[in-house]
Amino acid sequence: MKLKQLLVAIGALAVLPFAQSAVAHEGVALKHAAVNLEDQAQIRRGLTVFTDVCMGCHSATYITYKGLMDYPELGLNRAQVDELRGEHALTEGLRTDLSAEDAKDSYGKVPPDLSLIVAARHGGPNYVYSILTGFEHDPDGRVPDGNFNEYFPGHRIAMPDPLSWLDHEEGDTAQLEQDAQDVAAFLAFVSDPHQNQRHAIGKWVLGFLLLLTLVLWRLKVEIWKDVKH
């Protein structure tokens, strides 16, 4: 077997593990969220959902009020941020007023900080979107001491239905779906705020490297003409 064939075989084998990423690592395939991190309107809508709904229990401590102004993906002005932050300083992160003890009493566990939730779960924004729209009624009591969620691993989630997905009117479905996708977009942005900048720089870097590779390849071929090989 030639070395080249060998390398191809190894490469083929190495692809195996990648198939795992599409699923929510315990079986159920996630719904796909329409998230566009270059869409400032979507990210802002997601911020509104977050501050109106999620911040009742969850923090996102790594995004500060000042960050809401400084990042172009949000780009709020001083007045808008002052309205959101109340007495909190500009340099403070977005933190919930719900104390850990009260949370434990009400829900059994402390709601996790959401700054990195999109990076910390397989499926990222798809996971967030699926969870928020995955609440189901549980008449058979399969999950007696929790809330039944189609997409949460184990199906028993401590968080009660935050967007009121259960029993929503049919006419509201589109709006609720959009709210869930928008907040998924906001959280996807928060978990890696420089990703748009990174992609933009990356295009230039790869383009440059292609050019450099081409030049060095031709130079190598050219000078190796001197060698009988």
Binding site: I10, P17, D113, R121, T213, L216, W217, K220, K228
Partner: protein
């Protein structure tokens, strides 16, 4: 350009006091190398490049990273916060962090290819046994540095990976418990562990610089092997390193950078292989993640560890699988070096490469009874490969080796 520098007055002044010109000419520009080296010989220079990148990015990251497990908000800690600060607030901090994380994996990809070249073409055989041994030392120090470095973000995988691996040392009889406490600086992985792992993580790559220097020196004494595995006696079989291999290596660097920068800029987590999903969750000493596995480049040895029901035997087997690498030059007594001319060895070594990939796959994926069995078979072949080498030369009909190139 090098020529202009070397002709300058300043360089002359330095050269008279250091002998720099003679060194540069004999070790770099006019250093004789075989003319038939293929692209598998590029990985050594690539490994050096990645080492330099890791040290540079590491030093600049260390200007902001704080090795403290003190709690800040919720489950977050000073260390975890400092990494997030690097990602969000430090100018280009995100780039330094991703370069360092991708670089760690890139280092192992490049080094494994480099070792694979050595295995296939018999670069470990006489007179290059010590060169190979120094290389194994480099591999071990790399694994140590990677292990120490992985704890630093203080995520779930960091904490629990370190807990599991430091637990292993506890399996050793008599000294195990003391060794464990020595490593951890306490009874469990905690703040003392983090601080000392940071210190060691900074130290090991600098040790590597020295040892790589020794590796290159040892190489330059015996000179490079070549794909045919034969000793080159004629002058026309060799060419000067500059410009032929400097430019060829530069081309290799450019190709490598294409892959590297793709990952850094467009896929730094690499689907969870380079930065694991669970490590974005801050460390929680009361909750183990559902699936603990080391980073991909340590998974083959993890499988070997888990293939044995007895904990101590597993630890010894894992250590043995690394120790046996030292013995390779002395186990394989065939006079023919390159697999091109050793039909039996060729099949064995290709199977060995596949075996290591299988071991890695078993170590990374959540265990099932089938996977466990596959891992055990793969572990068996891993060791069998080395012991078989003792008897292979006795019956292997090697193909006639060419006189020259």
């Amino acid at each position: 350009m090098l020529n202009t520098i070397m002709k300058s007055k300043v360089f002359g002044w330095v050269d008279r006091r250091t002998g720099a010109e003679a060194i540069i000419k004999s070790q770099l520009t006019e250093y004789p190398a075989p003319k038939n080296l293929n692209y598998m010989w590029n990985f050594g220079s690539l490994a050096l490049l990645v080492l330099v990148l890791q040290i540079l990015t590491g030093i600049f990251l260390a200007m902001y990273y704080k090795p403290s497990a003190a709690a800040t908000y919720g489950h977050y800690t000073v260390a975890f916060d400092s990494v997030e600060r690097i990602m969000r607030d430090v100018n280009f901090g995100w780039l330094l962090r991703y370069m360092h994380a991708v670089g760690a994996s890139a280092f192992f990809v490049v080094v494994y290819m480099h070792i694979g070249r050595g295995l296939y073409y018999g670069s470990y055989k006489e007179p290059r046994e010590l060169l190979w041994i120094i290389g194994v030392v480099i591999l071990l120090i790399m694994q140590g540095a990677a292990f120490f470095g992985y704890l630093l973000p203080w995520g779930q995988m960091s904490f629990w990976g370190a807990t599991v691996i430091t637990n292993l040392f506890g399996a050793l009889p008599v000294i195990g418990e003391y060794l464990q406490q020595l490593l951890r600086g306490g009874f469990a992985v905690g703040d003392p562990t983090l601080n000392r792992f940071f210190s060691l993580h900074y130290l090991f790559p600098l040790l590597l610089v020295a040892i790589v220097g020794g590796h290159v020196h040892a190489l330059h004494v015996v000179h490079s092997n070549n794909p045919e595995g034969i000793d080159l006696t004629k002058d026309e079989e060799k060419i000067m390193f500059h410009p032929y291999y400097t430019i060829k290596d530069a081309f290799g660097v450019a190709v490598f950078l294409l892959f590297y920068c793709y990952f850094v800029f467009f896929n730094p987590q690499a689907w969870g292989f380079f930065i694991e999903v669970d490590n974005y969750v801050p460390a929680n000493s009361l909750a183990t993640p559902s699936h603990i596995a080391p980073v991909w480049y340590l998974t083959p040895w993890y499988t070997i560890l888990r293939s044995f029901p007895d904990k101590l035997v597993g630890v010894l087997a894992m250590g043995g699988s690394l120790a046996i690498l030292f013995a390779l030059p002395f186990l394989d007594r065939s006079k023919v070096r390159s697999a091109r001319y050793r039909p039996v060895f060729k099949q064995m070594v290709i199977l060995f490469f596949i075996d290591v990939i299988v071991l890695g796959y078993c170590g990374h994926t959540p265990p099932t009874p089938t996977l466990k069995l596959v891992g055990q078979i793969a572990t068996f072949y891993y060791f069998a490969f080395f012991f078989l080498l003792l008897i292979v030369p006795k019956f292997e009909k090697t193909k006639p080796v060419p006189e020259g190139i």
